[in-house]
Symmetry: C2
Subunit: 150 residues, 2 copies
DNA sequence: ACCGTACGTGAGAATGATTCTTGTTGCAAC
DNA sequence: GTTGCAACAAGAATCATTCTCACGTACGGT
């Protein structure tokens, strides 16, 4: 298995966020971030363990929870049997959404048009006025058939 | 507990969809649809059982699965402990999305601007051309704080 | 450098939402 | 009325996730 080191800058930013929550960037957490960064799409816990057999399942769950609390990773909303995890947008610098295949269940990253993003922001503002909802983030998933399943 | 009958038309359409899948609209299923129609927001299984104590938990799970396969109800993507269910958009005639409170977990229905819907359709078309993904439906969730939790 | 404390770890047990199993009931068609 | 099949209820089984616990390890004060 190829193990590219994280860039120094990325490591520093992650350490900072964990420190704000009184947590450290340990080897196990570093491995998780490395695997997630290499994948470029959300992964399930079994997929994470498959890609790095030094990871212990119980520690993966615990560390993903800690990383999520620190805003380093995000757990996706899914209805499948496994939870999916990915690096936070603001760490990768790639704000993105997902296409979910309703046949094989695979999730892939996609970036969408600025026009769509702008429409979402306008909608969030309108809802704040109308029902007092304060939007923190949004989620756009396109559900359908991937090119392999069509 | 107030039990409004379903409109004759709605009942007919649901019976039709179930029939296409070799299933019947039984009393248990009718109760589920009635409770969901009255709620006007997605409900969890415990909430469903709370609102109609004649429902048996195991039957609720089975019947919701059958109703979902027939396209009568939809199971939402969530990361909480319970699954949420709602009536399908094309039965209620109200295409809508959701605002999810990140504090209390409540999910409410919202309708969004035609401009936003149009942007999503354009994005779906572009993805079909670019990566061969055939979009069947989309999902827009705004995650943040509801007016009670702000 | 040396501890003490607190956090991190990994293996396995416990939890609990969901699904499966079993035996029974009720409708429909002949 | 009887045969066949879907639907039913209750409880057991499943299995992703969380918890427990005993051990290891890094940091801070001295």
């Amino acid at each position: 298995m190829k193990r590219e080191a994280l860039t120094v800058e990325l490591r520093k930013r992650i350490e900072g966020r964990l420190a704000e929550h009184g947590q450290r960037l340990t080897p196990g957490r570093t491995s998780l971030v490395r695997v997630l960064a290499a994948a470029r799409r959300p992964l399930t816990i079994p997929e994470l363990v498959d890609r790095d057999h030094t990871l212990a399942v119980s520690s993966v769950y615990r560390n993903l929870t800690a990383l999520e609390a620190a805003g380093v990773v995000r757990r996706l909303l899914t209805d499948g049997e496994f939870a999916y995890y990915e690096l936070a947008d603001d760490l990768t610098g790639r704000h993105h959404h997902h296409v979910v295949c309703s046949n094989c269940g695979t999730i892939d990253d996609v970036e969408v048009s600025p026009r769509l993003e702008q429409s979402v922001v306008e909608t969030a503002n309108e809802l704040a006025r109308r029902i007092g909802f304060r939007t923190e983030r949004h989620l756009i998933d396109l559900v359908g058939l991937c090119n392999r399943c069509v």
